[in-house]
């Protein structure tokens, strides 16, 4: 983009013409009552125009910039106050427009054409967005133009700028959340590198991250909406605290039960083949397949205190399930079962039987080989299975609700609170649960990294 220098005649003529038309229109429009001819602001603009004209003629100012400034000044002086709400606003927009022209001119001149086009399109879009769509949001328009001028010369910065603009206008109710997500996505997309240029993969990354962000939005919204005080208040409320403690306790108990019975079963399924193995594997999925409420009813049909088995348990062992703590654990065990068995099975499958055999040849008996070899090797998988099962047990609502609605575990407490006092009061409790889970997951991920795997850690290669 190199402009051709205009011929000397045009160089002389154009600024004069521009200034003459400014003055002429100023007089004519002043006579017609369109503008105040003797208003200080308008006179000031006229003077500045004259000074600029002189500067351009004596070649002390850049020709293009000087002409552009003169044109902008004339336009704003003559019609600006009718487009903008008042003269002051028009003046402010004039200043920002001058900045935009300055930046735009240099971008057109110094950078490849696509940058200039992106700049121009951005300007048009900002105009559309702030002046037309938002019906004269001049203050924002000015802010945005300043941002555009500062970021227009790098696509990466421009993308960040647009991310902010869109987050704070179009995505307005969730401005901060979307801004956060955009600013997570953009660096990822811009820093993505492949050995061979691969636009398909990049588009896939962009689309995938956008999709993921949309899913993550509610979580972010929920967390960002809370103040530390409201969260502290929730933690101090006895009902919420009891519910949280109860959830942690029962879910841990349920996970322990599942570990004791599920891990051996998973090992057996992994190492043995027997008749009806497929059936057993299918049965594992039942708690996933059936709705939670159905699971609750089903459990109640058998373990309810009026039902034969439930009453037998009550009479023989004094054990009540429904409406009591064991009921919660039972329901949680039921729904978390597949989340325990399936990953555990996968973990055991990942340990080759030949390794066990090698251990046997080295003198380990079957128990020793399991304890010293298979268990440590499957540990990470088993750990994740435990975490999944725990999370599922702690998060169970339907089945637990039918078995034991009170004392309430956290999901039920959330529901009760929502029923009683509505969304605003419930949000902090939910945020606390969410934060707790996120922190827990983070810690567990860190723990899981320490547990050895079958695969070599990367930094330790010979």
């Amino acid at each position: 983009m190199h402009r051709n220098p205009p011929s000397p005649l045009v160089r002389r003529l154009l600024p004069l013409l521009l200034f003459a038309s400014h003055t002429g229109l100023h007089i004519m429009l002043g006579l017609a009552g369109w503008i105040e001819p003797f208003e200080l602001f308008n006179l000031m603009l006229l003077t500045v125009g004259a000074v600029l004209c002189l500067l351009v003629l004596t070649e002390r100012a850049d020709y293009f910039m000087g002409m552009a400034a003169m044109f902008l000044i004339a336009a704003h002086a003559l019609i600006g106050h009718h487009l903008a709400p008042d003269a002051l606003t028009s003046g402010a927009i004039l200043v920002v427009n001058l900045l935009t022209v300055y930046a735009g001119y240099h971008i057109f001149e110094a950078l490849p054409l696509r940058y200039g086009l992106a700049f121009a399109v951005s300007y048009a879009l900002l105009f559309e967005l702030f002046i037309r769509r938002m019906s004269h949001a001049e203050p924002l328009f000015m802010l945005a133009l300043m941002g555009l001028a500062a970021t227009g010369r790098r696509f990466r910065m421009l993308a960040c700028f647009w991310a902010l603009v869109l987050a704070f206008t179009v995505c307005q109710p969730y401005a901060w959340e979307t801004a956060l997500l955009f600013l997570l996505i953009l660096p990822a997309v811009f820093s993505a590198r492949a050995s061979v240029r691969n636009p398909v993969a990049r588009a896939g990354l962009l689309a995938g991250l956008a999709f993921l962000s949309a899913l993550m939005l509610p979580v972010l919204v929920l967390i960002l909406a809370q103040t530390p005080q409201s969260i502290a208040a929730v933690l101090e409320a006895p009902d919420a605290r009891d519910a949280l403690l109860l959830t942690v306790g029962t879910a841990t108990l349920a996970t322990l039960i599942l570990a004791v019975f599920g891990i051996p079963l998973a090992y057996a399924l992994s190492r043995l083949s027997f008749q009806g193995k497929t059936l057993v594997l299918t049965l594992m999925d039942v708690p996933i397949v059936i709705p939670q409420s159905v699971a609750g009813i089903a459990l109640l049909m058998v373990f309810g205190r009026t039902q034969p088995l439930g009453s037998a348990l009550l009479n023989q062992f004094g054990l009540t399930l429904d409406g009591a703590l064991p009921g919660i654990v039972l329901a949680q065990v039921f729904v978390a079962l597949p989340f325990m068995i399936k990953p555990a099975l996968a973990a055991f499958d990942a340990v080759p039987p030949s390794l066990e055999l090698a251990a046997r040849h080295l003198g380990a008996n079957a128990w020793g080989a399991f304890g010293r070899l298979t268990l440590p090797l499957a540990a990470r998988g088993l750990f994740l299975a435990l975490v999944l099962a725990w999370a599922r047990a702690a998060g169970e609502f339907g089945a637990v609700y039918f078995m034991t609605a009170s004392p309430a575990v956290a999901p039920i407490a959330v529901f009760n609170r929502f029923e009683r006092v509505g969304l605003t009061e419930t949000a902090p409790l939910v945020a606390v649960i969410l934060l707790f889970s996120l922190v827990l997951f983070f810690v567990l991920q860190c723990v899981a990294r320490v547990i050895p795997t079958l695969h070599a850690p990367e930094g330790d290669l010979p």
Partner: protein, 350 residues
């Protein structure tokens, strides 16, 4: 064609539906000239460094700083306080689409500062910032002594250490007084920042060469803390906003005095180690179009530029863009004209 346009129109109005939240859309800026003056004056002040003649640049700069102080005290006082600007930026962004004027009001100062820094270099620090000007001018009192100390490689001196201990003692006594006279909250961050300032001064006077560079990283920590506090809606008070806030705030007065005392011992101590905005401006400045460029053929490595720099951003002509305040003292001091200010629109992002 018209069908397509109207379909696009319909889609757009659906997609941009949220924008209709604007309530006082037609309200002009009449009566809220403050925001506009902010933008205009800050913009002007930021452009000035490029316009003023090189002969008397430093005198112009001091004039600019004086204007900066006036602007910040009489025009934009409510947006101010170095911490308040971060908080208000956040608040202003939150107001977009609801109260656009308020949004502009809160965002104008920080946005102008960042934008001018990205275009014209981090000149805000050296040419406008009233806190910087205050420190620079106070620092003139002990400037000769500090320059000598700097030339000697910052030796550990008993006198300086005694002075620092004196600063610490004043801080403690003042705290004793304050703790009896008013209630303190977590939000009264200025006292914590001044406390850290006192500790920094002690550490630096003990061994400046060892601690100077590492401690500068505290700026980022400072920024993160203030941003986090603003996200948590804690109304942290800022250390040196005394003159600008029109509010009687004893904690702020204390910290202002602490900064003034500390800057006698170490020039520009607040900017160097604690100013949260400095990290943002340095980031913007590294992406800036304008930069001070060294002509290494002309440079004789004489080290004169090192001596004039208040913030130790130059070493033998090489400028650390993270530290540079764009005061251009080094440009003016160079006897060989090896340093020059250049605009480069293709400059890659650092």
């Amino acid at each position: 064609m018209n069908d397509i346009l109207s379909a696009a129109e319909t889609w757009l109005s659906g997609a941009f539906g949220n924008i209709k939240l604007v309530e006082k859309a037609m309200m002009g800026l009449e009566g809220s000239y403050v925001e506009l003056l902010t933008i205009l004056s800050l913009g002007l002040l930021a452009v000035l460094p490029a316009i003023v003649p090189a002969q008397r640049r430093q005198r112009w700069r001091h004039l600019n700083q004086a204007f900066g102080i006036i602007i910040f005290i009489y025009v934009v006082f409510t947006c101010l306080g170095v911490f308040g600007m971060i908080r208000n930026f956040q608040r202003g962004l939150s107001e977009i689409g609801r109260e656009n004027i308020v949004a502009l009001y809160y965002c104008s100062v920080p946005a102008t500062i960042l934008v001018t820094s990205m275009l014209f270099g981090p000149a805000f620090c050296g040419w406008i910032c009233p806190t910087g000007a205050l420190q620079e001018w106070i620092g003139l009192l002990t400037g000769r002594w500090n320059r000598k100390r700097k030339a000697a490689g910052y030796p550990f001196s008993r006198a300086a250490f005694a002075a620092a201990l004196g600063v610490a003692a004043i801080f403690l006594l003042w705290m004793m007084h304050l703790s009896r006279t008013r209630m303190f909250f977590v939000e009264d961050a200025s006292i914590y920042w001044s406390e850290v300032l006192v500790l920094i001064v002690l550490l630096l006077v003990w061994n400046m060469r060892r601690w100077d560079r590492p401690l500068r990283r505290l700026r980022l920590l400072s920024f993160i803390l203030v941003a986090a506090a603003s996200a948590l809606s804690l109304r942290v008070t800022s250390p040196v906003h005394l003159g600008f806030a029109k509010v009687y705030d004893p904690a702020s007065l204390l910290s202002t005095v602490m900064v003034i005392l500390a800057t006698l011992v170490i020039p520009r101590v607040w900017c160097r180690y604690l100013c949260p905005w400095r990290s943002a401006i340095a980031w913007a400045g590294r992406h800036s179009v304008r930069a001070i460029v060294l002509d290494s053929a002309a440079c004789t490595r004489c080290g004169i530029c090192d001596g004039v720099c208040d913030v130790d951003a130059v070493t033998k002509g090489v400028i650390d863009s993270k530290e540079c305040h764009f005061c251009m003292k080094c440009v003016d001091a160079c006897p060989h004209r090896a340093l020059s200010i250049q605009d480069d629109w293709r400059r890659p992002c650092a």
